[in-house]
Amino acid sequence: MPDMNSLAVGDRLVYPNQGLCTVTEIKTEEIAGSKLTFVSLVIIETGAKVKVPKEKLEKNGVRRVSTADDVKKVIDYLKSDSEKASLDWKKRARDNTARLSEGGLIGLAEVVKGLQVLSELRPLPPKEREQYNDARHLFVEELAAAMGVTPADAEDAFDILLFVPGKERPKRSIEEFQGMGEDGDELGMDGDLLGLDGDDGGGGSEESSSDEEKSEDGESEEGGDEDGDGEKKKKPAAAAKAPKLPKGAKPSVMNDLEVTAPAATALAENAPKKRGRPPKPKPELTGPPPPPKKRGRPPKPKPETTEPPPPPKKRGRPPKPK
């Protein structure tokens, strides 16, 4: 691909995120005593005019229109069963933005195909739907210029690969997107967002290793009353993981009868320390439980009097004297 040094008026370039533009003027101007060469561009779709120093063209991501070889590579890429888009929305958004601005024609194809495959799993959120539309628009525009056909033919040329004629789009499952070297969270949320720290021993997350679970079991054996509910919840998970042990291997977790005092203390020492203030010891109850306290203000004590109570005051205006 020829570089930006051999630019001429009338050449077609691609301005990232803006689309095709034409070089209208190349002029050397003297600014603050130094001579700079400016390239004037007109964005074909909107008619907007841009004036960029020639040295900054490449830095801004301006490039020449893709060649026939690039188009062939893109068609091969669209035909192939490429890797799926990331399920982590932050990573996906970052990658797609980078591809749109500096990925070239193949970058645009990656965004379009990635989001299209993702839409086969679930509908795209509005922001990504907009990004998909923008990417598709830029892709169609550049592909049409590179192939020398109308935009309608350019769009259909790659859409017959993405939407195969006579076939419905496949329904994707979440399993196809997992195993991409990430946490594979279904909601696309990081552990940080959910408030789960990897080094928090008391979290009891599903991702903790089997050793950690063992230590948690040991801890729960001698744990206080507070952990009773938690223990009940954790037990089925531990039981579900038990059959995963290899054949012939003895389980290293002791049952209730096998736990001896030294072993229990050793387990307690190995167990990760609980964070926060320890629970207060409950006082031992000897007598009957006190009656429940009444809430609210106590009633005023009545004054002891011997005189009869004064007659109740008549309300309203006193009668006129006759």
């Binding site: 779709e45 188009v71 068609i75 669209l78 035909k79 299209q116 839409s119 509908p123 795209l124 509005p126 739907r129 907009e130 998909y132 539309n133 598709r136 628009h137 169609v140 192939m147 056909v149 109308t150 935009p151 309608a152 033919d153 769009e155 259909d156 040329a157 790659f158 859409d159 017959i160 690969l161 939407f163 004629p165 006579g166 076939k167 419905e168 789009r169």
Partner: protein
């Protein structure tokens, strides 16, 4: 305004239904502006690209959309990646589009499908691209589920086309 020019004879009642569907979909006026004849040298199946280029000038304003309606076959287009079935073609963000009724069995009962084809091509003239939603009229026409859909847009395409029409008017 959407102006429909017929290259072949169509039932006026059907054309009335079609204009009504287009008016509902785009929110701009739609009318049958009369018949036109196909340019010389065009034989069935028509090459849609050449047909759009060679069609004679019709009376329309700058922001009008012109839809040519034919009952003859449009030849599938040979593209770099394969052959694209062609039920219609449009000039993107421009004025002209062509749609065929070939392939629609019992047109009187299936005018909805013709309206769906027409909506897609006029949508292209407003700058819309193909959509991901199978219920949307902008979904690719060659997919099997396209014929069962309604003549409506999805929310995204509806909003986009509304915005385009507003900017065109102002």
């Amino acid at each position: 305004m959407i102006r429909i020019f017929t290259l072949d004879e169509f039932d006026p009642a059907l054309l009335k239904q079609l204009t009504k569907s287009l008016y509902t979909a785009f929110g701009v006026g739609a009318e049958h502006s009369g018949p036109v004849t196909a340019p010389h040298g065009q034989q069935e199946p028509y090459d849609a690209n050449k047909l759009l280029e060679a069609m004679p000038k019709v009376s329309a304003l700058a922001d009008d959309k012109v839809l040519f309606l034919t009952s003859r076959k449009l030849a599938p287009r040979k593209l770099a990646s394969g052959e694209a079935p062609t039920f219609g073609l449009a000039r993107y963000s421009a004025q002209r589009a062509v749609v065929t009724s070939v392939g629609i069995k019992n047109l009187a009962d299936n005018i909805k499908l013709l309206a769906r084809y027409a909506m897609q091509e006029i949508g292209h003239t407003y700058g819309l691209h193909h959509c991901l939603d199978p219920r949307c009229a902008m979904y690719p026409q060659w997919t099997p589920s396209y014929v069962t859909g309604d003549s409506t847009f999805c929310t995204f395409c509806r909003d986009t086309v509304d915005a385009k029409i507003r900017t065109t008017k102002s």
